[in-house]
């Protein structure tokens, strides 16, 4: 896979002495959607800000589409679009004026047709002459995206894109991100919404306390670290788990009505067949059976807890 963003040994220590990033090395593949997950203060935004030129790295090198972000900053930044976490907009400007400014700043000549297309794609066309201060939070978020896309970047950073956005807009945004990816744009997003990463990402990176603790294909990660549970709804409640079933490590819940069995999906033997045979021999009958797989959120929480 070709790396479109290459991060090598990047560290950041602020003047206060706080170390936000510790020797981060990471490659983002061309055309992928990469989700960077991490708790508050993990270093996600610092990393993005360094790549985009807003914060200076203390050590290390970064290249964007083959261009060093310091020595060849013009070419590197030209490729990058950033939607920051905060809704920082020129409140007194119109949507059209602020998006036009962004395009110019990134070295593109005027192209009203392109800006019109972006505004229409983001359902902002009707608001093009409105001052940003009159827009809702969701609309302002769209304006931020329009600004980031105005110069036709090939790498797009979305820093917490769904913060403060309603469900409908979030779904629209996911659609837009997929469509951008289909057009060859590489997308790197940070998010607190694990659902977002689960829904969209090709690969997931987990960052905690300034260190990358895991980078993995999302599906592989879920397969590798995912646990599965079977919950049996019993026909008759039981007061305790019989000794003959003790070795299955079951959990009894629901006032004796539910037995839960956890197993590793990667294991050679899941133990399900034996469990069902033992249940039949013990005379425990069940009315229903549910299975549940660990979500990315469960995996993320486990990982962060493990490393803390």
């Amino acid at each position: 896979m070709t790396a479109i963003v290459s991060i090598s040994d990047v560290s950041k220590t602020y003047a206060s002495g706080f170390t936000a990033l510790k020797n981060i090395s990471l490659d983002i593949h061309k055309g992928e959607i990469f989700a960077l997950l991490g708790p508050n203060g993990a270093g996600k935004t610092t990393l993005i800000n360094i790549i985009c030129g807003i914060v200076r790295a203390s050590t290390g090198h970064i290249s964007a589409d083959g261009h060093d972000i310091i020595d060849d900053y013009r070419k590197a930044r030209f490729k990058i679009g950033l939607v920051p976490q905060e809704l920082t907009t020129d409140a007194f400007e119109t949507v059209w004026a602020t998006v036009t400014l962004s395009r110019g700043l990134f070295g593109r000549g005027q192209n009203p047709a392109h800006i019109e297309k972006i505004l229409k794609d983001l359902s902002l066309w009707e608001k093009k002459d409105s001052k940003i201060m009159t827009l809702s939070g969701g609309m302002k978020r769209r304006v931020m995206i329009a600004k980031a896309l105005s110069h036709e970047p090939t790498i797009l950073f979305l820093d917490e894109p769904s913060a403060g956005v309603d469900v409908e807009l979030r779904r629209d945004m996911w659609e837009m991100v997929r469509s951008l990816r289909a057009n060859g744009v590489t997308i790197i997003l940070t998010t607190h919404y694990i659902e977002e990463a689960e829904e969209m990402a090709d690969r997931v990176g987990v960052i905690n306390k300034g260190e990358i603790i895991l980078v993995e294909e999302k599906q592989a990660l879920m397969r590798k670290l995912g646990k599965k549970e079977i919950t049996l709804e019993l026909a008759q409640p039981i007061s305790a788990i019989p000794d003959s079933l003790a070795h299955h490590k079951l959990e009894l819940s629901g006032n004796g009505h539910e037995l839960t069995y956890s197993y590793d999906t990667q294991g050679e033997r899941t133990g399900i067949t034996t469990l069902l045979q033992d249940l039949a021999q013990t005379g425990i009958r069940f009315r229903d059976l549910n299975t549940k797989q660990s979500s990315l959120e469960d995996i993320f929480v486990d990982l962060v807890r493990e490393r803390s």
Binding site: Y14, N49, K75, T88, G104, L105
Partner: protein
């Protein structure tokens, strides 16, 4: 050079001027007119000619310079401080634009605005007093040089300031007093010898004197010295701006 970026910043800043036309243009013109009414008309009619020039006409260069200094500083400092304050500075910092291009965009727009105001003030003055400009090209040159220099100074203040209060401190407490005491309304030759000597430490004296020379061909200090001091201040401001971008002072962590 990222010409598109310079143009974008320049147009964006100029658009703000025209959107806030009352604050940007009308207000300074009204206040300058009031100076003419009070100093030029009411008080000036009782003051004898200075260097063969009526008092009303004599104060015109000083008034224009006063307006030019304060407007250059205010426009440029606000222009760069406001994106810092609301957070949109992220876009400037992440754009493929050099520090020189940022300065040309912001300082160019601020200087354009203050030159426009200077010329409007001059036009307003012409309604009150008869004016003859002896060296019009030098007058325009001084106008542009002072506007650019003090817009750079304002740009530095805008980056340095952490609050709107700090943004006002230097223009209000340093520049305005220096402008008033820098011979805007009088010739420093009218002062007692000690105060005349002290006044020579005031850089505004050289600006006003040089500018006044372009109007009347007479000055408090030699035109060459006025020009040299102004250029020296310009170079100092350029040096500070270059240092700011090199170190990221109050712009980048």
């Amino acid at each position: 050079m990222n010409i598109h970026a310079i143009r974008a910043i320049y147009k964006f800043e100029m658009a703000r001027t025209f959107r806030t036309i009352l604050q940007s243009v009308v207000s300074p013109v009204v206040s300058t007119s009031l100076y003419f009414v009070v100093f030029g008309g009411a008080i000036g009619s009782r003051i004898a000619e200075i260097d063969g020039v009526t008092y009303g006409a004599y104060i015109v260069p000083g008034l224009i310079m006063l307006s030019l200094l304060t407007q250059s500083i205010m426009n440029a400092s606000f222009g760069i401080y406001f994106p810092k304050f609301i957070g949109t500075i992220y876009e400037i910092l992440s754009a493929p634009i050099s520090s020189l291009e940022i300065v040309i965009g912001y300082v160019g727009a601020a200087a354009t605005k203050s030159i426009m105001l200077g010329l409007i003030t001059l036009g307003t003055a012409a309604l009150f007093v008869p004016l003859h400009i002896e060296h019009p090209l030098w007058m325009l040159g001084f106008l542009a040089l002072t506007a650019v220099t003090f817009s750079l100074f304002g740009f530095i203040i805008g980056i340095w300031a952490k609050s709107f209060e700090q943004l006002q401190v230097i223009p209000m407490l340093i520049v305005t007093p220096l402008a008033f005491l820098g011979g805007s309304f009088y010739s420093i030759d009218m002062l007692p010898p000690l105060w005349r000597t002290i006044s020579l430490a005031n850089p505004v004296v050289y600006l006003v004197s040089g500018f006044r020379w372009s109007f009347f061909g007479k000055s408090d200090v030699a035109i060459e010295i006025s020009l040299a001091i102004t250029l020296l201040f310009l170079v100092a401001c350029l040096g500070i701006v270059a240092w700011i971008f090199k170190t990221g002072y109050r712009l980048k962590n």
